[in-house]
Symmetry: C2
Subunit: 459 residues, 2 copies
């Protein structure tokens, strides 16, 4: 039985696979709405039953929130183990009016299935279950060990996943984890994401006079908290849009020339991007390309600012308080805690006299860089070549993925395979979310190939 | 009949005057609450009836809002005319819980009458009516011509006063206007306010990307509107807390050395002021004293700022929009329109690329400086000396008084006599507002003396 035979079986089963996906997509498993708690549970049970039907041991683990599906099939003590991650919960469908067909009545048109959760993440994680199914059907077992972890709280920030990982370290032991919860670089440009930026997120609270003051009576006499805050915020960047926090760039691992070259060869359509963003000019750090700026260079953004009067018309007030949210995207080898120290020292130094400054460190994430030399990564690349008929590009993402940090920190997993089967315009989190049936098919093929590649039985 | 005799009559009538004030204060004429519309009307009628009882011609003029009381007694075509302004409406009493006695059950204790509107402005404008009454009673007529204008919408911004002034220019013709709606410099330090700062108030709206963006995916690629706004806000001030808008100080009329000296001799308690403001250090423009900074120097304040995420926790967003309210306090001879032009040119120049900036000019007020050489001002100073037993200090206020601008612009009145009988700690707009009965008495005495001084029959 060759991969070609299995791929033929995938094609002949395709209709049934789509029917099953439609069935799962019909369950409105919106994790953030308590009124959908039963639906979320039902979706979890659907996944458990599906795993059992494939011949895996499966159960639903309760958590303090929505349950976690865990299933395994580990027939080979001497072979590698792949952990597969997915989530069966979905974003709220709102605004429902903007959907052409109802979000939980999956509809196929023009080669796409339209429904909330189609691409994020039901359609994507189902590819692994269908891959396991078809391999089990043909071969009686998978050529490696597989463990499946599908949670129900990803869209609300995975509040109980860390605890679950800590409690089940041994159960979840694996040599690699596959996560298909993103997208190809562009349609028909499959990708492996090997880098994620980290994060250090702060709140600044500036307090001046004890109460709001009349700016006529006291203007000119006290430091205005918004003025002080603006001075601090201004001090965070310098010419060429560089972050001006002293020491900020000290630990940045520059990309090798080959990596920069590779990144520049990615087909990034700047005109399209500007139109999408609605800006006339792109900005960013001097000396780096747009692709580098948004993925491989650290940045600083002010995420929010507030203070004083924001209503209609004019109110002549000197506010007592003002504040801002400021976050830095970090790259290897920057450490969020070290950056936090530098940030605190800098803002304390530049804060003008006459106000009190409070700095709160709200959130951190380590930057992630998966070594492309890892055999599991190379196996994934070959599997995608087999499944998609073309080599994947290697990309870095500008954001963080909290669950990736969890898997690194709690399970010590280095071989993190971020394999997005979807497309950037699938509309995850938007109305009319969709998933290409061709991507569904290629995802299943790639997942099958990955099982074989990790077993050393590649095409 | 000398002033001394009249003052004795004031003393012997004092109890009745207070009873009448208590009666007026019992009417909850809160102009901003539509449920008090009838009470506001009733307070206006009370004032009309009081004026008629004194022998004045009086009527209530309807407006599109609350009515205006107008009364006059003009027996001397060849003598000067004094226009007296006041307002019979009051601020809302909230928070009512914090009043020791109910806001509309006037209570006398420790020499003060406590009620909403006691000092602002019922107690203060009533001094003029009682002065006219006592002079009429003693002499049969006042020695000059008097016109009384008491409006019912001051606490909601006098929305219909300008229209009323424009329609009744001839009726309101006068040689001076007396306004007692403020306070002495300090208890027992009576004052004449001869300067007010002007105002130029703007809103800045900065627009970047067409929608809020994920700061992970796009951080480093687009100009963040809050960053652009912060750069603009920062550029508005330079070292020594000077306004950095080019040309801003060009038309500033510096104070003469004698005026600065006089200002420095005012008893300003800096330790008290800092405690009141709740700040450890006072700030402001280098080279000027606190008193100058808050009254005689132009300033710039950011009155509000907004943009992006201001909720609890962390949201990694690059907002599409950010905005701010910015106002400048102006001094003679700065012109709000000229300043607006300078401000617009400056912010347009410093706005970074990658965002759109919209500047809206929301509000203007001309600075006011009443010449102390005017005979009417000198008459008022002598009247206060007679009424309070001490010379007034001459002060500038840091704020604007919109009605003063209206009287200047609509009636062309230069001789604006801002004579506050109240005290800075009377609690106008606060719970437990009060008015000193001694100030009430001295206000009536001073008002009487003013009628005589303006007639050239001073003490």
């Amino acid at each position: 039985m060759t991969l070609t035979d299995i791929f033929e079986k995938i094609d002949s089963n395709h209709k049934r696979y789509v029917q099953e996906l439609v069935e799962l997509l019909s369950i409105p498993s919106v994790s953030t709405y308590s009124r959908h708690k039963g639906d979320v549970q039902r979706a979890g049970e659907w996944v458990v039953n599906m795993c059992r039907r494939l011949g895996m041991e499966a159960r639903l683990y309760p958590t303090a929130g929505h349950p976690v599906v865990y299933a395994s099939h580990c027939p080979h003590p001497d072979r590698p183990t792949l952990l597969i991650y997915g989530h069966y919960d979905v974003q709220p469908p709102e605004p429902v009016d903007e959907w052409l067909t109802p979000p939980f009545q999956p509809t196929v048109r023009d080669g796409f299935v339209y429904a909330r959760g189609a691409s994020d993440d039901k359609g994507q994680f189902l590819t692994y279950l269908k891959a396991i199914e078809v391999v089990m059907a043909v071969r009686g077992e998978v050529p490696i060990n597989v463990k499946v972890l599908v949670e129900g709280e990803e869209e609300i920030g995975s509040p109980h996943l860390g605890d679950f990982l800590r409690r089940h370290k041994d159960l979840l032991k694996a040599d690699a984890i596959a996560i298909s919860d993103g997208s190809q670089f562009a349609p028909d440009v499959p990708a492996i994401t090997y880098g994620l930026r980290g994060l250090a997120y702060f709140q600044l609270d500036v307090t001046g006079p004890r109460v709001d003051l009349h700016s006529g009576s006291f203007g000119g006499l006290v430091m205005n908290p918004i003025q002080a805050l603006s001075a601090i915020l201004c001090s965070l960047k310098e010419g060429g849009d560089r972050v001006a926090v002293p020491g900020f760039y000290d630990d940045v691992a520059d990309m090798a020339p080959w990596e920069r070259e590779e990144m520049e060869s990615l087909p990034l359509d700047l005109a399209n991007l500007k139109e999408y963003l609605g800006v006339e000019v792109l900005c960013g750090e001097e000396g780096y390309s747009p692709m580098e700026r948004k993925t491989a260079r650290p940045t600083l953004d002010i995420n929010g600012v507030w203070g004083g009067f924001a209503g209609e018309g004019a109110k002549t007030v000197i506010p007592s308080k003002a504040g801002a949210k400021v976050s830095m995207r970090l790259v290897p080898n920057q450490d969020p805690d070290k950056i936090a120290g530098l940030f605190r020292a800098h803002v304390a130094k530049v804060c003008p006299p006459g106000v009190q400054l409070k700095v709160t460190h709200l959130h951190s994430a380590q930057p992630v860089l998966v070594s492309r030399d890892l055999p599991q990564v190379q196996a994934a690349a070959r599997a995608i070549h087999t499944g998609f008929g073309k080599d994947p590009v290697f990309i870095r993402e500008g954001g963080s993925i909290p669950i990736v940090n969890l898997f690194q920190e709690e399970l010590g997993l280095d071989a993190i395979l971020l394999l997005g089967w979807g497309r950037p315009d699938d509309g995850a989190h938007s109305p009319n979310e969709r998933f290409s049936l061709e991507d569904f098919r290629r995802g299943i093929r790639s997942a099958v190939a990955l099982l074989y590649e990790l077993a050393g039985e590649g095409a």
